[in-house]
Symmetry: C2
Subunit: 307 residues, 2 copies
């Protein structure tokens, strides 16, 4: 079993590569839920859904979110009925949120709901939320403290950020299966996801970071940055907001207490010695994954190290 | 102000005729909510929606339910995710249910939610649920006691019915505006709706039947039956189930304590004397409304009596 810690977009690319190279049943994916949100009274788990749609062969790789070829009839009518429509939700995508909300309200745990949806879509990999409790990444901006989705989607991450916190994380516990997955894995992969708002919330759930520190299993990461910019999204901006260098070096600092090896971009080779000084090994490669062959190549590089 | 008591399909036809002949702002419609149900965790009010869509110019007069030209992308995906899909819900229709459920969960009353949706759709008539409390029409069949939707939609009203009750009605109160509407109306129209499962639940809400009995306002009804069969739906079957004659005479018995006049089909003229013996006046006419001119003609016949 290989364990993976991931957010949405960047992680989904690497996971798509991994399941093309190994039996998906051997993959257990621990997903960030700090971006989870509620729109129109529906419970939305953007990162779980991106991973689920990717593994179910439904994802829209052009848009980077939602379901390929989805329509927007419900959203259009929701707007007509006077609802705010800035958070885009397709019709098929809404079926996921309606199902999740219904099951959660019936008292099922998010982990059980996630497994049920994955099973219905024929997914053989295990998808685990980091926690069954609600944890909410909050971003302090000149507009005040807002949710991650408001910062990321509504404001298109244009606002200055002075602080980030994971509301509720102290009271949260790892979801059933998360610690077991970390303990039993023969390798653990930290996906090229945002270290502050995607991997950060997972690490902040009490017990998870300690489990990573204490396991003897090799933990291998992939940097989401090239130079001073994230391959996609605001990782560099958020690293800076918490006082870290907006580069692969800042990423290594985030994971230095448990990471054995970090894949970094060829262009960042000059950072190798500083990263190694943190106690983290380095491999340089092409970390961009614009195409399926790129995803598979990077997955194979990681897998060959594990083997 | 003219007050109307209605269920879904048959009532919607007459209401479409009425709003074509008078200023819609002069119409206050008291809707049955005994058919309200929950699917996929969403609160659905079929009769309110049929009336709302009719007044908003959205209704599908061919199907008799839902929104014209609606698509079914969400429902297809809900089925794929393992949900039971026997209750048809279109995409635009779902936007209504999502909005309603969200507002109800926020603590708004059904009457406020109904008004808000009607306003968003540009509707000038007043649409009132009979009650803001949950009342559920339950039907006893050989399969046991089931909901009205299960009887009507899933079983296509094919089962034998031995009893009908309105669960929760004793604890319910008329929604804000209902009693005022009855007291202040210059006329009250009982639509050609099912007397047992459409008008019956409204009359069973404590205070409504008494208000109809004690008001001096003329109350005029239209029978939903011709001969021994309802123009649409199972009214005749349900009249029989409660021990009444499956005919316009049975309808008159249901309303005898407050109805001044009943419009009945020309073919039912032979029942006139028996109905009049109940203290209810009779007018014979063509009560079918397959087309818009028919709806307007019948509405005009009623309005000319009121004037």
């Amino acid at each position: 079993m290989i364990a993976v810690l991931t957010g949405g977009t960047g992680g989904a690319k690497l996971i798509e590569g991994l399941v093309a190279e190994i039996d998906p049943a051997e993959l257990a994916i621990i997903c960030n839920t700090g971006d989870d949100c509620e729109f129109y009274g529906l419970n939305i788990s953007p990162d779980i859904d991106t991973i689920t749609y990717t593994l179910g062969g439904l994802s829209d790789s052009t848009k980077g979110w939602g379901i390929r070829g989805d329509t927007f009839a419900v959203l259009e009518q929701l707007k007509r009925l006077g609802n705010d429509g800035w958070f885009n939700l397709g019709d098929k995508d809404l079926a996921t949120h309606i199902t999740r909300t219904d099951l959660l309200r019936q008292g099922h745990a998010l982990s059980a709901v996630t497994a049920r949806i994955a099973h219905a879509l024929g997914i053989r990999a295990t998808i685990l939320p980091m926690s069954d409790q609600r944890v909410e990444t909050r971003v302090t901006t000149p507009l005040g403290e807002i949710s991650f989705q408001e910062f990321f989607v509504k404001q298109r991450w244009s606002l200055d950020v002075s602080a980030i916190r994971y509301a509720g994380v102290e009271q949260s516990r790892p979801a059933a299966g998360v610690l077991e997955t970390i303990h039993n894995a023969r390798a653990i992969v930290i996906c090229p996801s945002n270290p502050i708002t995607s991997i950060g919330p997972i690490l902040a759930v009490p017990g998870i970071r300690n489990a990573l520190r204490s396991t003897g299993t090799p933990i291998i990461g992939v940097s989401p940055l090239i130079g001073s910019t994230a391959v996609s999204g605001p990782a560099h901006k958020l690293l800076q907001a918490v006082g870290l260098e907006p580069s692969t070096l800042g990423v290594a600092v985030c994971y230095r207490d448990f990471l054995k090896l970090l894949f970094i971009a060829d262009d960042d080779q000059h950072l190798s010695r500083q990263i190694e000084a943190l106690g983290v090994g380095v491999r340089t490669t092409d970390i961009r994954m614009p195409s399926v062959p790129d995803k598979r190549r990077l997955a194979l590089e990681i897998l060959s190290l594990i083997r």
